[in-house]
Amino acid sequence: MFKNDERYWNIHQLNKWFAISSVLFVAAFVWMFIDDNDDEYKVYQRNFRQLEIQMAEAELAEELEIVKSERIDYEAKVQKAQAHLDAQTSLADSLQNRLIFLKGVFYKDNMNFQGQKSQIDALKYLVERDNTHETDHGKDHSAENRKIYDDANALLHEYKLKKETTETDIADTESLINAINQESKHASDELNKVLRDVLLVENKLAKIDRERMSFMNKMGDLVRDLPILDFMNPYYKVKQYVIRDIKYNVNFTQVPSVDRCTSCHLGMTNPDFIDAEQPYRTHPNLDTYLSPASSHPVEEFGCTGCHAGRDRGTSFVSAVHMPDSEEEKVEWEEKYDWEQMHHWLKPMLPSKYTEASCFKCHQNEAYIKDADQLTLGLSLIEKSGCNGCHLIQRYDSRRKAGPDLAKIAEKLDKGWTIKWIESPRSFRHNTRMPHFFEQDNNSSPEMRKRNETEILTMVDYLFADGKEASTKNDHRFMGDAVNGETLFNAVGCRGCHIVEPNMNNMSDEISIESILKDHGPNLIGLGSKGSAEWIYNWIKNPSEYWSETRMPNLRLSDQEAKDITAYLRSFTNPEFEAISHKNIDEIDRDELENIAFGWLSKMNSEAYAKMQLAKMDHEETMGYVADKSFRYYGCFGCHNIPGYEDAKPIGTELTFEGSKPVDKLDFGYIHDLDHVNYAWFTRKLGNPRIFDHGKESPAEDKLRMPNFNFSPKEVDALVTAILSFNEDEVSETMLADHYIKDALVYEGRKLIKEYNCQGCHIIDDFGGQIVDVIGATEFSPPNLNTQGRKTQPDWLFKFFNDPTTIRPNLQVRMPSFDMEDEEWNSIIRSFQFGDNQLLAYETDHIVAMNAKLKAGKKLASTDFGACNNCHFYGSTFPIQDAQAWAPNLAMAKDRLRADWIVDWLKDPMVIMPGTKMPAPFLPTSDLFEEENANAIYGNALISLDGDSTAMLEGIRDFIWNMKGQKDITSIVKKYFDENGYKFGEEESDDEEDEWGDDDW
């Protein structure tokens, strides 16, 4: 029995506790260890490896099948060679032995040589020192050193000779051995060549397929990925691209993105995985993206630069993938336990918005290639005038989207204007003028009363002096409607306008092509709108009414203008006419005062507001409310309204809207919406007043963005554009501007878009929609392919300013645009840039009076090319009928660039697909062998000896030398005035004309 007063715990119990807790400790540790190592990407990499093996095996089977028969032959050859070799074993062995011996000798010789050489290096230094330093402490060793050095050199030479002899011996022996092995080596080389693809696949398989590995490799493959040991040479590992030029904004600074996407998206750059499941699938369009030869190689652009998302994420959720649709979301939630990681500012863009990222680098371009949705969105922003109210610094409004209202009284009557403001679409079903009224938050009876009053005050302000246009059909300004329709369709109006009264006939797919057609308004209902006089004056000279309009002058004659006016007035809108409205003098005065008081008391005390109101007479109150209404609705964002020239845009700035944190977007009481910015934008654009739902705001504070009735596709495009306005920064060198440094080029392209040149012309393989109306390429405005190379810039400039007839066969006219010199210069520069042709001035092409010219003349003559069949020679009319007429060749010297003519003649179809211009006949030299060749072709042509370029240059020189009247506009006009156009009717019985027609 021992005294136990110094103990409290039962040690056995403590031991037990200790054991239990330690076991728990181990368990926790193991759990932690597993938790630390079960990375999601490893699972994907394992699966991908299986997939690779499967594919490689299939490939192997295929390759084996291909070489199956050949292989046997070559293998037999190898065997035969091997047999020969075996027969010579003894000789080979003896040679081999000799080689080994010689190598030993060489080693010794070489050692001697090297040793001696290093000695000499040291001695050399002594001698060189002696050469420069006179004495060494008074003693002169130079002679002594020199002698040693020379002796050593002699010895070195000896060693060298010996070494070289051995080297020669070795080389001889080696060549003997090679000769013996030659046959066998050659045979196996050949076999390997045949089996090259097979071996490649086999090699690959040997690296990835554990089944095919040697035991040690198998062990190695097993060990390399064991947790803890996996730092040495793991197969499964995080893969990443560090992209220093594309950065993530951490607010204080920008950090390079580190894209780890390829840890799971393993087949991304490999075209073999085009049909594989995600995440292994090949990226679409490898010619443009990812591949080293493309313009966006993955090493430089990474993934998140375009797709956004959490670059460093290594799991599905932590990469912040975002679903494209509700169904996908549900699917992901089941499959990946997906939930949005809210704390990442740049969640991945759902694939339908990916184009938004293009804007980062391509922000200055009018059309962004392969990014149609983004381009459409940006175009819609300009067309709808979004940037009139919302400042977007990188996509500034270039002009007001709506018409100038300064002289509205000349154009419209008050009644129409009142009804139009209230509900534009009841007049024109596809107008871009948005609906401000009768929306979610202002359709209560009180709001209606208020809005009606507001509209009346605004209209009253616009028609300031009380005058208004007469709506009567004034026949002084109206001609023949039938002829008007023909003209309307022929002269080019349809390049920008449609006339489609029935909204059901509208094609519902909106695209960057379709918006070319309705660049201007849909010209319906003009019989119910405004005055004929105005229409007549407007189409005669649009810039007189509105100096900034994009509508060009088509140089219509009085009669033409009258006819078109009559045609346009023939469309009426009786339903719209039937809508009743209050007149301005019937305005609800109480409501007017209410509104005025509301605004006054907003900023001032009520007493002051009352006092102010009392001071105002009715007119002043009208003016006050009109002013407040204009400022509230922001009408001046799209229209020029006198007195509001300097008013500030009223909307939220959208410059960085795509980066705005979601919590800065007011979701109001709408809860059935994902908390992501694009969901909010989509809802807002679909119904701009939605977030007022359930709110009790005073009339002055209600949401006021109008409803543009965007279609879902338009909304998607706009959301893409808005998402593209973000704070992401890329290095200067990534910007497209970095590669095209000429600002004029961008400006020119923008102008081309702004003035809808592509409504009529194909420029950069895009546009020319008017051909659908005209029906045939040859009667449509020309394709402007190679325009930059084709014409002389100064001629083009003159032409723009004063268009002359170039293609006498066209009824459609190149209009006169009222543009500034800088603008024309930009357009010319952008054409030139597209063809890599930036010279404004060039040395004149001098035509040498030689055989080429004569040959050219011959080739152009009626015997051969018969250019005069279609082309004007100065004022000389072509032989063929008017519809085959082609440009005046006398104009070529002023207009075209000499080099281009040769290119053009080589194969016109390449430059202008669909042209009727044939390539000229060029005799080949064998034709000159014929007897009467001299008579047929003439000396000059024969002397060129079938040199096609020389012949084409000859034609060019012939044309270049042509004299005659250059501007044939009046001649052609006179001809048509007398004979009329008959293309429409004649089109069907157009005879087969092999010479065709030229379209330059």
Binding site: F33, D36, Q114, P292, A293
Partner: protein, 183 residues
């Protein structure tokens, strides 16, 4: 150690009365505590192992190991191009029939040799090792030739150098097709 101490050893640790009562003898005592210590050592040992693993990062943020070195025609024959020396530590060498990428790390002690064009050799400033244009060592203390890196032609026709794979002469790896480009 005195005799008295020895006597006390078993006594103080275990109360014999309790030992009888619980049926736990020396063996039982050791069983629990052994489990405890083994488990404890395993877990702490595991932790230390993991901490050592912790020192080896999983990813690197070093400059890329592969780079593009222009087109084969950019190199005149029998020249050493030092353009990529500073950024990627590689000489691009073109001899009679091939182009190869030579490591700029001296095999002696890792200095960077200089290319002496007039003498047609690489000379290491640290200890005087000399290498021929091919990378073969011929003087000084360097034990073996310079290494070459994997070289190939990318799809866009440019030369692609991959520094993750090197070829050593002494292993006969310079014969391998990936170690040079035929021109």
């Amino acid at each position: 150690m005195t005799n008295e101490d020895k006597k006390i050893i078993p006594a103080a640790s275990v109360n014999p009365e309790e030992m009888d009562k619980n049926g736990l003898g020396r063996r039982g005592f050791f069983r629990w505590i052994t489990v405890g210590w083994i488990a404890f050592s395993a877990a702490t040992g595991g932790f230390f192992t993991l901490i050592i693993r912790f020192l080896f990062p999983n990813v690197l943020f070093e400059p890329p190991q592969t780079f593009k070195a222009g087109f084969p025609n950019d190199y005149a024959s029998n020249t050493v191009d030092t353009r990529y020396k500073k950024k990627f530590n590689v000489w691009m060498v073109r001899d009679e029939g091939s182009i190869f990428a030579l490591s700029t790390v001296c095999t002696h002690l890792g200095c960077t040799p200089n290319w002496l064009g007039t003498e047609n050799k690489f000379k290491c400033p640290c200890h005087g090792s000399g290498f021929r244009m091919t990378g073969i060592n011929f003087e000084g203390p360097a034990p073996r030739p310079l290494e070459r890196f994997k070289i190939s032609i990318a799809t866009d026709g440019k030369i692609l150098v991959d520094k993750t794979k090197s070829f050593k002469w002494e292993k006969g790896e310079w014969e391998q097709s990936e170690s040079f480009l035929k021109v």
